[in-house]
Symmetry: C2
Subunit: 340 residues, 2 copies
């Protein structure tokens, strides 16, 4: 009995020591926790020139869910970045207006934690969410709405205009840029802390033994050389460093002008398959192995990939509670949808 | 001063008397309020053989919002019956799988208060919501999912199976009929009491003077001969009684075998345009005038139509607060989406 107690105590101590060492190792790799305090979080995500307020968030949420921002009245931001489905759409290549697939066969990235990315889009061509939000709304194969149409739709609905005034003052110009930057403010709040953050913040028991082992393997294999920062991703990195991606021929995406590709976040990765920029890999284990080969030039065994996937489960975070909005009704002045 | 007081009192009394008389008139027309008490409401909407429980409602909500019930993973019940948009989609004819419009050019009716309908679908071919829900999921131009696909998708997700067990017991067979009847249980809760109900329930001031006047015109013109019951609609009625509908040629819908058409509910009608079975009329005033001509054989003047529309505004009800669901993730066993 006594012996058992001593052994348990030793194991507990040893587990704490291990955990501490592992946390240090993780931090050295460049991975960071989502800040626990609201204040600290705001220093990262807020913009003093256009601060986050509850009025803007509520309005941005409505616009995010409003399919009337699309030409057809059928597609909202949430169609491809579905907050019920890990912030993505669960298909290989995005499908939008007229059932058109993304011409480069690009997969919709998750919107959750995208505020922590250095750059937006797979080629990182947008520096921030407010700029990013302008793209899909206008893109022909996505929401297919010219700026003017979006402005006319929103301005034709007095309750929307009223909400813009409440959020930005009576003199607000409800233009396309304002509409999309308001959506971005809502998106900034889509942050999902997980057990992994609790672990980094000192709760050694927040991860299971198997998850800690997987985390250790993740670091040892070098995954954090690209998957780092708060998002464990979201920075531009070279792609196909060591070998050609086995589904390289699906779509024609080759990164930005320098061949750089935005690393996807690993937060909520278990919910955001299929994987890779062209969504050609459906199994997370297979994705991990392929990444090892393509980016690190190593063979990750089935056992090691399984360990890493076990760790990745701990990155599934708690989603903000979202009350589904009731949108203000269209009026006789609201431009009609079109489907061509 | 004294005179003013007496006059005010008299006016107040007279307004109460008028309101009472108007309530009597409304009740005589066959229009009913949404019951105020939960118990009374349940006697209408609940089914003792499959009673409403919070577990079933929560699960039904998830399924209602889950686009993985569709062949493509892109279309959910909420796509066409959008709870943010009055329970409808704001387009003339429903558009579904492969961007296909409803082949009969039929407009998506609202799901709100549909539990009060005598029959479902424009031709009333379904007796209740559980039967109705089976249609669009399978229909080629809508969600295009064979029964077996829906069953495989749901059963491949352990968290869903677990929720079915919690709702129906461990021996539950998670088959297509159970999945769709669970959706229907969620839909039963989509009831939207409005100021009009408060008025019928004795609050004479719940409607403005103009709304009362409009209500009076509504009854006097005979609108309640079809738009009655709790839903102010939802029963099968002959169509084109007095004249041909001016957009009769849009689509080929001619009602059921006997030419009967389900009367749309007028609850939330200001939010559910465009109007008529083929969604060919966008203006509510125009819809009211056309109804007078087609169904009642009368000319409703612009002024009268305006009065009626003023009343119809009071039927915009309070929507249940819906927390947007977080859906359980797909697994390696979940059948992949297809787009053909």
């Amino acid at each position: 009995m006594k012996t058992t107690k001593i052994v348990s105590t030793l194991l507990l101590v040893s587990s704490f020591v291990c955990a501490d060492a592992l946390v240090e190792k993780v931090k050295k790799s460049g991975i960071k926790a989502i800040p626990q305090s609201q204040h600290e979080l705001l220093t990262i995500i807020d913009d003093k020139k256009d601060p986050i307020t509850s009025e803007k968030v509520e309005l941005g949420k409505k616009l995010y869910f409003d399919p009337r921002l699309s030409r057809s009245n059928l597609i909202s931001c949430n169609t491809c970045h579905n907050l019920a489905l890990g912030g993505a759409d669960g298909i290989s290549a995005a499908i939008g207006h007229k059932w058109t697939a993304n011409p480069h066969h690009l997969n919709s990235p998750t919107v959750y934690n995208s505020v922590f990315f250095d750059a937006q889009f797979w080629d990182g061509r947008s520096a921030h969410l407010a700029d990013q939000a302008q793209g899909p709304v206008q893109a022909g194969p996505e929401m297919a709405s010219p700026k003017e149409l979006v402005e006319q739709r929103v301005n034709s609905i007095p309750a929307y205009v009223e909400e813009f005034k409440k959020a930005y003052g009576d003199k607000v110009d409800v233009n396309f840029e304002r509409i999309t930057s308001t959506i971005a403010i809502f998106e900034k709040t889509l942050v999902t802390p997980s057990r992994f953050d609790q672990f980094l913040n000192g709760n050694a028991n927040a991860l299971t033994k198997a998850e800690k082992k997987g985390l250790n393997t993740f670091i040892d294999k070098g995954c954090a050389s690209c998957h780092n920062g708060i998002a464990l991703g979201g920075t531009l990195q070279p792609f196909e460093i060591a070998a050609k991606y086995k589904f390289s021929e699906v779509g024609d995406f080759k990164g930005n002008a320098n061949g750089m590709v935005k690393t996807p976040t690993l937060r909520n990765i278990t919910e955001t398959g299929p994987y890779f920029h062209n969504g050609a890999i459906w199994s997370l284990t297979e994705a991990v192995k392929e990444m090892g080969s393509v980016q690190l030039g190593i063979n990750i065994s089935d056992k090691e990939a399984g360990e890493i996937v076990t760790f990745l489960n701990s990155l599934t975070g708690e989603k903000p509670t979202i009350t589904y909005p009731i949108l203000p009704a269209s009026t006789d002045k609201t431009p009609k949808p079109s489907f061509d």
